[in-house]
């Protein structure tokens, strides 16, 4: 019997979906971690990016931050936090590691989006007597919206995939299905776990694409910013 059939059987078995080690519980943990981390990262990164982008300062910071973020292994950060005094506080180390991981894409994209706003429009708004605050709220944010959401979206997809690492030190999430399958040398279970994470990542991506279309403040307006 091939791996595909066995994976299908694993997924079709109701016993694998219930209980603490079941798919539903792990999926709940995974979603909870993803949403919490994403919200915290946005709450930290977006205001900073919007202010820096509006002032036109800190461009080097925004670019370097995403480079540094790429160079630091999330796994190493996670283990370092686990061994620190924070390690005893449940899923806090996981949350911090994932937040640090998600901030760079959100911040860099939002910053680039704010800077990418047509300077002429900003000048025009200023000429009309808008204050800095009004320019941010009525001109820059609506025009930068697509790029801001793109940053959040790519962070969300990466967080969904990376939350699996929480399973290595015994945390929650869908990664546990993969590590358990690996330990039992049950390929079907590993494939099932990987499949669940990949599907979840693609679903999240889809939801964000929809949100982007529905919520875009410039929807129905013709602008050059939509390239």
């Amino acid at each position: 019997m091939g791996v595909v059939e066995r994976t299908w059987e694993w997924l079709a078995d109701a016993a694998h979906w219930s209980g603490t080690d079941g798919v539903w519980h792990r999926l709940g943990e995974h979603l909870f971690l993803t949403v919490v981390c994403l919200l915290i990262s946005c709450a930290i990164a977006l205001p900073v990016a919007v202010v820096l982008g509006h002032l036109g300062k800190g461009g080097a910071l925004a670019v370097n931050l995403s480079n540094v973020g790429r160079a630091v292994p999330t796994f190493a950060v996670l283990v370092l936090l686990l061994l620190s005094p924070l390690g005893t506080m449940g899923s806090l180390p996981t949350v911090i590691a994932l937040v640090l991981f998600a901030i760079p894409p959100v911040l860099t994209n939002a910053y680039v989006g704010m800077r990418g706003v047509d300077r002429g429009m900003v000048e025009a708004a200023r000429g009309m007597g808008m204050t800095g605050r009004q320019i941010v709220a009525r001109v820059e944010l609506p025009l930068a919206f697509p790029l801001i959401v793109t940053g959040v979206r790519s962070a969300a997809v990466q967080v969904v995939a990376t939350t699996t690492l929480a399973a290595l030190p015994g945390g929650g999430g869908l990664g546990r299905i993969i590590t358990a399958g690996f330990r039992l040398t049950d390929t079907a279970q590993v494939v099932a776990g990987a499949l669940l994470v990949a599907v979840l990542a693609l679903l999240v991506e889809g939801v964000f694409v929809l949100l982007q279309r529905l919520l875009d403040p410039m929807r129905g307006h013709v602008t050059a910013a939509h390239a």
């Binding site: 790429r70 796994f75 283990v79 370092l80 990418g116 997809v157 776990g193 994470v197 990949a198 990542a201």
Partner: protein, 236 residues
């Protein structure tokens, strides 16, 4: 002895650890470098023809980009676990997984670089009697070097960092030390290996930047290009 004490006290920073486990650290670093180098080199060798094919036949581009993007959503943990039945417990598992990840970045950047070659340069080369092969290697590739190298740098840095996850099958370079350190609660080992890992990524990035400067003497430090981009931004 103070040095011994830091091992017993399980301090984060411990010179004695570095002294006594120097060989272990060197081996892990070499494995890390080897896995990263092999993955990026193979990734480049595979990405290049894929990008050329995607450019030649437009119909091929969608599926190639789509497939590489989907590959990127597969968690590294799952990727390595999935490849174990194929290769057994060996470094090939980690290298293959990392090659697949690097493809996403490399194919996109090679395509973008080739697409950014000015049509005039191509026309001029054709007018001078350049055939397709000479056009590619003599004109298009050199002009695509900046985008290509940008992709290569991102792919290399990500690969250095992702290699650590290979620790679950015992081929994670410095990740092995981090994983062991996590199990035995050995702080100095985790911190030393993590710092070395970040240092490797930074070194690789700086090294590749140097290679790019050497390869594109005409774009000296890219300052002129940057200025031009900024000017464009200001005009637009």
């Amino acid at each position: 002895m103070a040095g011994q004490n830091c091992l017993i006290a399980n301090d984060w920073i411990c010179g004695e650890y570095v002294r006594t486990r120097g060989q272990e650290l060197t081996d892990a670093t070499l494995q890390h470098v080897g896995i990263t180098f092999a993955s990026v080199a193979i990734g480049l060798l595979v990405a290049f023809p894929l990008a050329l094919l995607a450019r030649r036949w437009r119909g091929f581009a969608g599926p190639v980009l789509g497939a590489t993007t989907i590959l990127y959503t597969v968690p590294s943990l799952a990727m390595f676990s999935l490849l174990v039945p194929v290769f057994g417990l060996s470094a090939a598992v980690v290298v293959t997984g990392l090659v697949l990840y690097s493809l996403t970045i490399l194919v996109r950047n090679i395509l973008a670089g080739l697409a950014a070659v000015p049509e005039e340069a191509r026309e001029a080369a054709r007018g001078m009697g350049y055939g397709p092969v000479r056009l590619l290697f003599g004109v298009e590739l050199p002009l695509a070097v900046p985008a290509l190298m940008a992709g290569l740098r991102i792919a290399t840095v990500s690969t250095v960092s992702l290699t650590t996850v290979g620790a679950i099958i015992g081929y994670g370079g410095l990740g092995n030390l981090i994983y062991e350190g996590m199990r035995s609660y050995f702080k100095a080992q985790v911190l030393t290996a993590s710092v070395l890992c970040v240092a490797l990524a930074v070194l690789a990035d700086v090294g590749l930047l140097g290679v790019q400067r050497l390869l594109t003497p005409w774009a000296r430090s890219g300052r002129r290009v940057k200025k031009r981009v900024l000017a464009k931004e200001a005009v637009a």
